[in-house]
Symmetry: C2
Subunit: 131 residues, 2 copies
């Protein structure tokens, strides 16, 4: 088990690999998963369902960590979360805050982002082609 | 002059006091002011104009810093930016990233937030009352 920064890095890598079993193995049972524009979710089943929805529409997932800062048990990163959908890439700038327990599990994951930046691109990339 | 954390705290306090002269005195001439859902702005005049727009509609401004982390010359905070407009308060959750120069000036200010969370409340608080 690494330090808080390594745990978050491993978690992000598991999400990119769409390996939800590994990702969920790195969080507490009562994890609080907070996409700030939406209501917080609590618990692994809710996190799994939401991540599955985010990931299943993408053929590839690449979350670039642009900066990561660790302060005690808190890990903060700036990311560019990228999803390949159809012929294009959806790109979403994110500020993520993670709290890590003494046992090395993520108990809070809070992402700040602009929902319309996501929705606008998702809509454009999934729009039926007029032939 | 304090450390990077104190400089950001003083900057936030000046904004809350709507004291833009003091706030602008704490940033570099070529400051990059980035509201992530919108295009970045460069320079003091652009920052002043945008802050003025944000602030002039509010009778009171209260930006609550919920967490602040300093790592070298980087300051990161989670805030609840509150604006009293008419009879109500607009509340916007924000993740802020600041870069501080060796001379103690803010050269980058990047805020992550959900634009529709702002716009929806602003619209409700400024809607003409039907009598």
């Amino acid at each position: 088990m690494g330090g808080p920064g390594e745990i978050v890095t491993a978690f992000i890598a598991a999400v990119e690999a769409k390996d939800l079993d590994t990702a969920l193995g790195l969080v507490t049972d009562d994890v609080s998963y907070e996409n700030v524009p939406i209501a917080p979710l609590v618990g692994k089943p809710a996190m799994r369902a939401t991540l599955d929805t985010f990931l299943k529409s993408a053929t590839r997932v690449e979350w670039r960590t642009l900066r990561q800062v660790v302060s005690d048990n808190v890990v903060i990163n700036e990311r560019l979360d990228r999803f390949q959908i159809g012929d294009g890439w959806l790109e979403l700038p994110i500020a993520g805050f993670f709290e890590i327990t003494d046992k090395g599990l993520i108990s809070v994951w809070r992402d700040y982002f602009d929902m319309s930046t996501y929705a606008r691109q998702f809509s454009a990339l999934t729009k039926p082609t007029v032939t």
